[in-house]
Symmetry: C2
Subunit: 194 residues, 2 copies
């Protein structure tokens, strides 16, 4: 029992490092970059508050479990900003290695259970995973709108760049959220806010 708890706590202590993984997006007040741990919490809250945007086959509690775990691999692999340029094959290899190491700190039964939840998110095939992915793409533009541009300024993006990167992914799991985001993004750029 004690050995099991020691493994569980070792994993939870290692997971603490996600609080030091920085993202391209800032807080709504623009004061500093958001880290991936607080971002993950925020997405869980998005899931609770925006559950009415999910299709009938989506299980919100499963979505939340995915969102708790979805960025853990960034402890080893780092965050890949939406507007950055990355070799997707390399990123996926790094993330698989990270998953191997991190979930491998757990007792075998928990390792398998939590890794399966993360793999479901990554595969983005089930309705719950698609909705979780949609929220993960929907939150950064909401942060950028609130902070007056955020990572859109850093990456010098146009409304068309934004649409190319996020429209299909948000629409796949939560079409109403893309309709809403598009309207607000269009209005924001039309004001000449950037």
């Amino acid at each position: 029992m004690t050995l099991r708890l020691d493994q569980q706590i070792a994993f939870l202590n290692e997971a603490d490092r996600l609080k030091s993984t920085l993202r391209a997006t800032t807080l709504c007040d623009g004061s500093r970059p958001e880290n991936s741990a607080e971002h993950s919490w925020h997405l869980c809250l998005y899931a609770l508050v925006l559950a009415d945007q999910a299709g009938p086959q989506v299980e919100i509690d499963r979505v939340i479990r995915m969102l708790i775990l979805h960025d853990l691999v960034e402890i080893d692999a780092g965050d890949n900003p939406i507007y950055g340029d990355f070799d997707q094959t390399v990123v996926e290899q790094q993330e698989q290695l990270a998953a191997e190491r991190l979930f491998g700190l757990l007792p075998d039964d928990l390792r398998d259970e939590l890794r399966a939840i993360w793999e479901e998110f990554e595969a983005a095939e089930t309705p719950s995973a698609r909705f979780a992915k949609s929220l993960d793409r929907f939150q950064p533009p909401m942060q950028n709108l609130a902070s007056g541009g955020g990572s859109w300024i850093d990456y010098k993006v146009t409304p068309q760049d934004i649409e190319t990167r996020i429209a299909a992914k948000i629409t796949r799991g939560a079409p109403g959220l893309w309709t809403y985001a598009k309207r607000r993004i269009t209005a924001f750029f039309a004001q000449g806010a950037l």
Copy 2:
């Protein structure tokens, strides 16, 4: 529909401020104070990983919903460190006002749904709420053990002070976690680590 989404996003943007609410506990590496948003994420992960410490009547998904919401009121009321001295009646009044204002940003149905989850946590009467409260008391000593003392140093506490403040609350929802914490805390102070 749009008005509803505007209200939902206004709430989610206001909730972003929890990322700027600082706690007495530091990250495991001692580098900086933990904020209440990333702390809430960490507790959700604790619930997933330590579910085997919960009694049979505990619903882990409900525990997680409580943990996502449990500290939101700190946006207005601030965090009250475990070893600080507070007038509990004043704190509860401040937190009720905060709940009124924050959940009040939401459409009525969501306001009632989420506030009920938070009230269940606060009341600490259901098995799920008790387990959630136990995790909230169990995580800070794990952080302090990892960082070499943390808030125990700042507040100059003894092992007896720690036991007085957290033993009953952890034991009520997760007796195995207090047994584990006590053994590790005793060993830590016996080493003369502080």
